[in-house]
Subunit: 486 residues, 2 copies
């Protein structure tokens, strides 16, 4: 099923040819394309969800919800296009007295980068795969998408791809605006091909870094946006334990075992005050025992989980609080323990994402130790603090963690990433290769846009977004002041 | 004078320590710091300009103007900080019915990346050097700056650096917010140091690419924004020649010989219709002969110019229309010629930046040839089209060039880059390593910012920019709608 070199060349040639026509469509027309894709996917739910269940072993309710999230995301990007603010249209009028030589008529907007290669993820067969967030953002921006299917759900990728292509075609999109390719070789070749102008990836640190390195190694390097997962530390203060220990135990357990721990926002480390640790650990172990085991996505994921878990379990600084078992339904959840002193000293070994239902409780002997542990992180998708009003430690933790994570959660849990305007799903390396961007939320479109400025251009050669009279009715910044759209 | 390893370590440690205090200052307070720097530089003009004249051989009027541009730039960024829109503060209210699981309270803003290393340029000893655009943007963002001085103006760098440091200190900035380092080793070591979180560079393709590769090679890669110059093609249609040949000759000559051709926006290629070529070439040669020679910045630049010019001159597809001479005042201007057919076939050899007073006239036998020539470009800071109303070729050229350049100039010249909101100074590789950004204009601040999102955070742990009631009075996006600031 792997895409051959020749097939890939045809796909890239078609994507390249589709770039100008797709970019040339009015934003409102591209919005209609996204809505058509969403409608077509919703209509095919009865076919797609069972297919996804079979290929990913994920349960029906979860997959139905994920498909809903996927089509909502496409429709939200349609709204972004209609609003038009994403174009960042900016107009500076001629001003001869402007310092340093006067100001000509300057008009700037964002335009699509060109064809993008997107790598589907294993753990979200809909929302971060063929028609997922990266595809939605790139198509919304006006970039043709070459989608490299994840081997964990090939048949679903093929079906989803056909539905997307058909919906685009029916809506008048140029041929080549979207295609699915198969196989690691095709993925790597696409990243290296000069017709590809950006890449997006969701998956492991190992895979993401390798593709990022390829993208940077090109004669003409391109932006490569890899989201590579995270450990997502959770910090709990003494005040929080005193106020709501039961809620903390249940919430943490629910978050780290959700979807069998196969989320990039799964909390992998729980930092607790030593004074409360024994009690919390006992309660967690009791509650873990009652959780049902769930299958992992596929053999590759299961093998990686077993291997990482073994390394952690055998680490001299780690105690096993509750060992998960291999059941017919999959691995049951594991809970490990260590101390903040050991963690800080050996964070190179312990600060590693264990993709599956395992987590580590870290006993902190003091506030100072907990803060020192917070400082070991360099780049996380999320960091969570549980504190109470007037809780100084909680504030200090948040301040440290704001330097290190993309999203800071207060008295909540990191799993569950809402698709909104303000969402940030990203962070400094190793969470991503692009700390200045997000891969979820409406601003993720910016990854696929670059600015172009027209100087003294007359009306007939200006894009509509920049013309006098604002024919598109979009928000624009005129002489430094934001002016609302129609 | 080179910075030792130990000295660099102290500088980086101080920059790292300064990050949180600098980032923690209110934007309006950082604005005051930028204004203090601007005031101090303006006050020192009587000392700085003569120093710059001696080190760079640039004339007084040019340097006085450039210093004015530099301090204007600092003050414009101060205005950006006071406005606050650059923070992109975005608030989504809790909405339980939001699709795919409900929406928590999400509040997103941009925060500084951390210490930045900035490489000063040779050809703008003020505006793209110690206190230049990159420094202004990074300090405005709240990032400490480690400035690697260009060897072409070391004494000026030292003096400017001392003035910047003193102004920051007087304004209450944390120690370590700014420092100048010297020597290529120190520059490379800074790019590789984990305390540095981003880099910015203006200079040659060779130098920029080498530093970009270093930045990407790190265990924790960082964004590296290199602006690496450009050939800046100019296209002239037959209609434009008919309408204003004299103006075209004078304008082109003025632009390519300005500052002895030592601008990254110098037009290096003039594409003209073959029908008008002989006349235009004759007029250009006559006008070139009347231009006074001017010294190049330094021996290194002069050597590079002589070498590149020799390669071009000896190229079999190139005719010498007017050979410049080495005079006591520097090289006089050179004009070369070729054909579009040769150019398209051998653009790998001919499409090269020749930093100095030389340019190539390219004869295009047809509109098709001119369009084919436009398609050879992959990444330019600017592209210019001279056309007339109803000129279809001009429109087609602009459409091609919009894919390939950051700024499109209509009936004008690329030299002269206004510092405004709508300016774009960047472009696809090889113009820069970051096609999604600009290094001039107010949006250049975004290079040094990353998004952080707070989920369900109470007032006392939220940054002021995100609190209810908008205490900073800044523009914010609330539930998808832009709300103006106070």
């Amino acid at each position: 099923m792997n895409t051959t070199e020749q097939e890939l060349d045809s796909v890239l040639e078609a994507a390249s040819a589709a770039h100008r026509p797709l970019a040339g469509l009015r934003p409102a027309v591209r919005a209609e394309l996204l809505r058509r894709i969403a409608d077509a996917l919703d209509s095919a739910a009865g076919e797609l969800v069972p297919l996804a269940m079979r290929e990913t072993r994920l349960p029906e309710a979860r997959l139905t919800g994920e498909l809903g999230r996927t089509t909502f995301q496409l429709r939200l990007f349609a709204d972004v296009l209609v609003d038009g603010g994403y174009l960042e249209a900016t107009i500076d009028s001629p001003e001869p007295t402007w310092p340093a030589g006067g100001r000509p008529d300057l008009r700037r907007m964002l335009v699509p980068l060109g064809p993008v290669v997107v790598f589907g993820a294993s753990n979200f067969p809909f929302a971060f795969s063929v028609a997922g967030g990266d595809t939605a953002a790139a198509l919304a921006a006006g970039c043709p998408v070459v989608l490299k299917a994840h081997p964990g759900h090939l048949e679903l990728s093929d079906r989803t791809g056909k539905i997307v292509t058909a919906a685009l075609g029916a809506g008048g999109a140029p041929d080549g605006a979207f295609a699915v390719v198969y196989g690691e070789d095709a993925g790597r070749a696409a990243v290296l091909d000069r017709r590809i102008r950006a890449g997006a990836f969701t998956g492991s640190l190992h895979g993401g870094r390798a593709l990022f390195d390829l993208a940077c190694s090109r004669a003409e390097p391109i932006p490569f946006y890899a989201e590579m997962g995270s450990v997502n530390p959770v910090f709990v203060t003494e005040a929080a334990v005193r106020a709501r220990a039961t809620e903390l135990v249940e919430g943490y357990l629910g978050s780290y075992t959700l979807g069998a721990g196969q989320f990039c926002t799964k909390p992998g480390l729980l930092f607790v005050p030593a004074s409360a640790a024994e009690d919390l650990e006992r309660r967690l172990v009791a509650a873990v025992a009652e959780r049902a085991a769930a299958p992992l996505l596929n053999e590759r994921i299961a093998g990686g989980y077993a291997s990482t878990l073994r390394t952690l379990t055998e680490h001299p600084a780690v105690r096993v609080l509750r060992a998960g078992e291999d059941t017919a339904d999959g691995p049951s959840s594991t809970l490990l323990g260590t101390t903040a002193a050991d963690f800080v000293e050996r964070c190179d070994e312990l600060l590693t994402e264990c993709f599956g239902p395992a987590s580590i409780v870290v006993r902190c002997a003091s506030d100072v130790e907990m803060l020192a542990a917070a400082r070991t992180f360099t780049g996380e998708l999320t960091a969570t603090v549980h504190g109470e009003p007037g809780d100084e430690l909680a504030g200090a933790l948040l301040a440290e963690l704001a330097e290190r994570a993309g999203r800071l959660i207060w008295n909540g849990w990191p799993t569950g990433v809402a698709v909104t305007h303000a969402m940030q799903h990203g962070g400094p390396y190793p969470a991503t290769t692009a700390p200045t961007h997000t891969s979820v939320g409406t601003t993720s479109i910016r990854r696929f846009l670059r600015p172009v400025c027209y100087q003294n251009a007359p009306r007939h050669v200006l894009p509509e977004a920049l013309r006098d009279g604002n024919p598109l009715g979009i928000p624009r910044r005129v002489d430094g002041t934001l002016v609302a759209g129609a």
